[in-house]
Symmetry: C2
Subunit: 350 residues, 2 copies
């Protein structure tokens, strides 16, 4: 079985252990979360990020809350976790699925509820890993050997249970013997491309070259990009897709240059309750993340520096919406949906 | 007369003083250049940058070289300065203009040559400032009060003799009583937007909001950008325009959203010897600039940090080409050229 060297979370000794992604690639540090509050804070602060991974983390958060033994505690934990980040639907999906297991157990012994929720969280975790592998298998068939694939942000092992969606497609293609070269957008302000995608592909020995977000247009215009594969935080019923800020721009460039633009995501990312992209809430994060950058100095000490004048105004929408018309195909664990997505997604959902 | 508080260079006491733009906005430090070699190094290392400003700096570099008194010294200095950066044609233009003054003086006393070249450099400097003001006057008429203008990189006072091309247009519109809000792309990797544009507009009290380069698509898609104004490093005879990496992407987005895309540049940026964008040399700078960022830490100490895993491959094209078809108008000191540029630029040149 193809796997990545990298896993962002582990359930061990009754605690959720999270690889602190704020400190990668400079330091490999694990944080233990012993409560749902710990997990919600870790999601909010981006210790763990990536739509599938925060769904799995939230599930474990509820398994931890269930130990409290009271359904009211569990409901509060569910609300806190759900509110940690608004855009990725996988978070709400995982919370809903966990609460659907808890509901019929109202009045049961605390231990019974806790055991059931732990089993469900482990199942969500395991299913996400399997979904990633199926996404990889479907998607690998779409990539041609010898091609250069652009990706944005990190939809990799670190964003999931350990294989990746967009990077899972690339991993599976490489495992199938195809020669793939990856161009990774650095993905400001949080630098998930420079810190996470570059690192995890380097760990796995996959050919990766880092560029700044404003360079992809240059490489498109020179015919040096053959395909784009990105992840998703929420896919509306019509195929409109929310993903990390900057994804929309990449899709516009891909269309102009006739380059296929693929979205890879587990089925839990598809939200039929959201008719189109206009209904997807876009998280606005703090201006500090825009006026700062984090890395290591010459002595290997991690530092956050300010890159702009003091007091400057800044905006920080953390996601944008790529309209369905710019998407060539959506690669899910249930198969590949092609336009028109309204019907192809319904069929896969069938 | 409208002016900016900011000037990037000054000729004083027989030396060229350069505001060290690598250290802005964190530290205001001036460097004195006493030789053409000093000036060439300052251009290469981006102490001074911006197509018009490096043209003016190179002119003073030759004025310094002329003191050596020998035409061969002058020719060597010209070659060194011309090679300092390849993309901006203003550099070659200023060197050519200085050498055209020197050529008929072959055999004249050293002092005569030196005086003539100093006068010519001062003239180039002064004319650039005047050209900026005329660009501002032409361009301000194109901006509507109450609009939000996106700009990329720094085509401001710091990139010129002290008023700016793209930012000169904005300054002139504001001076004419129009309410203009500026969105400034941070412009990785060198962060000219975050460090220089944000700073100089803040100094002048112009409303500016900083965004990362991958965010403009979001604001375009929400109808929150009314116009784009950028500078240029070289404008080919057909209107194709080389400018800071990322400009092409902004132009593609502007076209998709029906937003006017203006290029503002002094006439010396127009290069009839370059038929189209394919003939413009694109400088590829070092990977270090991509894997690093510079700013100040919490104690106000300037630091360069690494933001990516050690040993990662990176690419760094420093410019890209925006095809003429994406440009609404080119604003020069001789007037505004509209498509088709092949003929409109010729007419202005006539």
């Amino acid at each position: 079985v193809v796997k990545s060297e990298v896993e962002p979370l582990a359930w061990r000794d009754g605690a959720l252990h999270l690889l602190d992604q704020r400190r990668l690639p400079h330091e490999v540090v694990w944080l233990a979360c012993a409560s749902a509050g710990d997990v919600a804070a870790a999601i909010r602060d981006m210790v763990v990020r990536g739509a599938p991974a925060i769904g799995v983390a939230a599930a474990y958060g509820l398994a931890l809350a269930a130990r409290g033994g009271e359904l009211s505690t569990l409901s509060e934990a569910a609300a806190t976790l759900r509110a940690a980040r608004p855009t990725a639907v996988n978070l709400a999906w995982a919370v809903d699925r966990m609460m659907a297991v808890a509901a019929p157990l109202a009045g049961a012994p605390a231990r019974t509820v806790a055991d059931a929720l732990e089993r469900e969280a482990v199942a969500i975790h395991q299913e996400d890993l399997e979904a990633n592998r199926r996404i990889g298998a479907w998607g690998a068939a779409l990539l041609t050997g010898g091609s250069t694939v652009l990706t944005h942000c990190n939809a990799g092992a670190l964003a999931t249970s350990g294989f990746g969606t967009a990077l899972g497609v690339i991993r599976a293609a490489v495992a199938a013997g195809k020669s793939i070269r990856v161009l990774a957008d650095e993905t400001r302000p949080y630098l998930q491309g420079a810190r996470l995608t570059a690192w995890e592909l380097q760990q796995d020995g996959i050919d990766v070259t880092l560029i700044t977000d404003n360079m992809s247009g240059y490489f498109f215009s020179r015919g040096e990009i053959d395909a784009v594969v990105v992840g998703a935080d929420r896919i509306a019923a019509n195929g409109d897709t929310a993903n990390k800020i900057g994804t929309y721009t990449v899709a516009v460039l891909a269309q102009r240059h006739g380059v296929p633009f693929y979205v890879a995501a587990p089925w839990s990312t598809v939200d039929f309750a959201t008719p189109d992209g206009g209904a997807i809430p876009i998280e606005e994060r703090s201006r500090e993340e825009v006026v700062e950058a984090t890395g290591i100095d010459g002595e290997g000490v991690m530092r956050t520096i300010s890159i702009a004048p003091a007091g400057i105004a800044a905006r920080h929408p953390a996601f944008d919406v790529t309209p369905a018309e710019l998407i060539t195909a959506i690669i899910t664990d249930r198969g590949v949906a092609e336009p028109p997505f309204e019907s192809s997604l319904r069929r896969l959902g069938g």
